[in-house]
């Protein structure tokens, strides 16, 4: 039947066309490069959009898209100097409203940011929610993200260290259970939902490391200047990079629980179905993490192999269960 376009792509392009026209009206003679930079797009995407705008318009009196019914640009400036000048305007004169869902996404995002200590009780945040609602075409859908302020004190210290350009002194308990005092140059705060992380240059390991904030204790600000800045380092996009030393473990898991372990499944892992559960491969850096993960999800997941992994999980859980035998005696 008729074409089924990719709606996302076309909608993004339409949103851009409706947004770039008012901006170009206020920035007469902007270069393609400036426009691309401002909207976070490629120069070629900008040129493509400008070419489309230049031939677009309204049907007009004659219903036939006459010259005066169309946008026009200074073609010489565009083709020879990569500059954009709208010389004739049609229909649009201001930025479009947000959709209800767009406003809802931003409002819920802002609510999540309210958990950052510098935003706590921020009048700016509260005011923004009102502005976004007023700037939406319909009432934003009720959606909220309430984040945990438990780590607020650690976040506040990290921020102070960044402002002063000094190292942090902290005690970190790593995932294998080793506790070490470290000096860290703070680079970036990252989070997934309620889990917060510090990316920093670790002076002990002399490398960029990721620290879970709830595994940090005794955080202090030092007088030592930092030696590394985020701008000087390339921080990998992924919090945890796979390493050649990683161990692969075969598991069976309830299909509904699959999203919970998505981070541990290596690219290209195969999965099959066995008795209503999915058999697949997990990649873990060591069994310390694995035994905790599997025991936490014992109702929906079990280890198939290798035997050493099964044994590590079983021993961990058994040690836990044994504690209750001792105490109930």
């Amino acid at each position: 039947m008729a074409e089924r376009p990719q709606p996302l792509q076309a909608r993004d392009k339409l949103a851009f066309l409706l947004s770039v026209v008012p901006w170009l009206m206020d920035h007469d003679g902007a270069t393609v490069a400036e426009t691309a930079e401002h909207f976070g797009m490629t120069p070629e995407q900008i040129r493509e959009a400008v070419r489309l705008i230049a031939v677009s318009g309204v049907p007009g009196e004659t219903d036939s898209y006459q010259h005066e019914d169309l946008f026009d640009i200074d073609w010489d400036a565009f083709e020879e100097h990569d500059e954009i000048q709208l010389t004739h305007l049609v229909a649009i004169d201001d930025a479009p409203r947000f959709s209800a869902r767009e406003a809802a996404a931003l409002i819920a995002g802002l609510q999540y940011l309210a958990s950052l200590p510098e935003n706590a009780g921020s009048a700016t945040l509260a005011g923004l929610t009102g502005k976004l609602s007023a700037g939406a075409s319909a009432a934003p859908a009720p959606m909220g993200v309430e984040a945990d302020p438990a780590i607020a004190s650690a976040l506040a210290l990290i921020r102070q260290a960044v402002e002063r350009g000094v190292q942090l002194d902290l005690v970190y308990l790593n995932a294998s259970g080793e506790k070490e005092r470290r000096h860290v140059d703070p680079l970036r705060i990252e989070s997934f939902d309620d889990d917060w992380y510090l990316r920093g240059w670790c002076h002990l390991r002399e490398a960029v490391r990721t620290f879970r904030l709830d595994r940090i204790s005794e955080t202090q600000i030092t007088e030592l200047p930092i030696e590394h800045r985020a701008a000087d380092l390339s921080l990998p996009d992924r919090l945890f990079e796979p390493s050649p030393q990683d161990l692969e473990v075969t598991i069976d898991i309830e299909p509904s629980a699959m999203p919970l372990i998505a981070d541990f499944i290596p690219d290209g892992a195969t999965s099959s179905e066995t008795g209503g559960r999915i058999r697949t491969t997990l990649r873990v850096s060591h069994y310390h993490g694995l035994k905790r993960l599997v025991t936490r999800m014992s109702g929906v997941m079990s280890v198939v192999g290798p035997e050493s992994a099964r044994a590590a999980v079983a021993a961990w859980a058994q040690a836990g269960a044994d504690r209750y035998r001792e105490t109930s005696r």
Binding site: A2, A10, R11, K13, L14, L17, L18, H38, F39, S56, P59, Y65, A91, A95, P96, R97, E102, A104, A105, L106, L110, Y112, L113, L116, T124, L128, G135, S137, P142, M143, G144, V145, E146, A147, D148, A150, I151, L173, A175, L187, R188, I189, S191, F192, D194, D214, I216, S217, P259, A262, K291, S298, G299, V313, A314, A317, G320, A321, R323, Y324
Partner: protein
């Protein structure tokens, strides 16, 4: 028949032309006028012929445009109400444009940029990407933040998208819900009120229908993770005024305050550090050599039991007894393998 000279017009050009045409008209255009004159339709319009495909295309385009927040209106012809042929379409300029008093400072732009980046997956990433384009339209550049942040909220529950869409369209929904401790999922029918992420998990606040058609009027909280099958939407939901997000959060806070557990943790372990760093954790003092007693709060007993079981021998649940039993059950199951 389409020829080389009337090659297919790109989707965005057709949508853009439709928006421009409807913004430019005061009185509105009839469907026939749109299909026969607007760029992207007119090339495929058959005079006095069957334009069924084109009409269906127009219906989809209207939805796409409205989803973008463009207020596409219909106006009945005077004296001819309800007649599809004389119904007129238009986009009123005042409702289309961002009100002139809605403008943002560079500081606000910085926060909005960051808020948009919270969504990296699912449909909300597209929504926030388009919202950012509209914000950029206003020409304000964001301040450079001092400390880099990369905050992210996940949308991994399959039920999120359909529930979000149902909230938006105000529809009643049905879904199979598996409560902990029950063997089989039970089909629920609810009026969705708000989606709230609390303690890292998505919850749906809703009013449940009982005995087919009658609601109890009481709100219930559903964990999206326990929605184990397809969410289906039904009839329009009755109006339920109020700030449902705030009410839902307040309700969860109340459950959190009431949910109290006492545990013993072995010092210098993952459990000791992480449970002490949990929100509202209270240190109750030593519990024998190398152990400390903590008072913890929780919302959901089954989830709390999962988390505590993961710490294996590093934590011992003292109370409540139901939580203690649930942790033992999990540990024994994991020990069996």
């Amino acid at each position: 028949m389409p020829s080389a000279s009337t090659a297919r017009v790109p989707v965005e050009e057709r949508l853009f032309s439709l928006v421009l045409a409807l913004l430019a008209t005061e009185a509105g255009l009839t469907k026939n006028e749109i299909l026969s004159t607007v760029q992207g339709y007119r090339q495929r319009f058959v005079v006095d012929g069957d334009n069924g495909n084109l009409e269906r295309q127009f219906e989809r385009d209207k939805d796409d445009i409205r989803d973008l927040g463009v207020p596409l209106e219909t106006v009945d012809s005077p004296g001819d109400a309800g007649n599809n042929q004389t119904l007129r379409y238009r986009i009123p300029r005042g409702a289309y444009q961002l009100p002139s008093e809605i403008r943002f400072t560079p500081e606000e732009m910085t926060l909005l940029d960051l808020a948009a980046r919270v969504w990296r997956e699912g449909s909300l990433s597209g929504e926030s990407r388009r919202a950012l384009l509209k914000l950029r339209s206003l020409g304000v550049a964001a301040d450079e933040p001092t400390l880099g942040y990369a905050p992210r909220v996940r949308l991994r529950d399959a039920a999120f998208e359909p529930l979000d869409a149902a909230l938006e369209k105000r529809l009643v929904v049905r879904f199979p819900y598996l409560k902990p401790g029950e063997q089989a999922a039970r089909e629920r029918e609810v009026i969705p009120l708000a989606l709230v992420q609390y303690q890292g998990r998505w919850h749906l606040s809703a009013e449940e229908y009982v005995d087919g058609g009658r609601t109890e009027g009481a709100r219930k909280m559903f964990l999206l993770r326990r929605i184990v099958g397809k969410v289906t939407t039904g009839r329009p939901a009755p109006e339920r005024p109020g700030d449902h997000t705030a009410t839902a959060v307040a309700g969860l806070e109340e459950v959190w305050r009431r949910g109290i557990a006492e545990v013993e943790v072995t010092t210098d372990t993952d459990a000791a550090t992480r449970l002490a760093n949990r929100r509202d954790s209270e240190r109750l003092g030593e519990a024998g050599p190398g152990a400390e007693r903590l008072r913890l709060h929780f919302v959901d007993m089954a989830i709390m039991a999962d988390e505590l079981a993961g710490f294996g021998p590093e934590v011992l649940v003292v109370s409540p007894p139901e939580l203690r039993a649930a942790v033992i059950e999990r540990l024994e199951e994991a020990a069996r393998g």
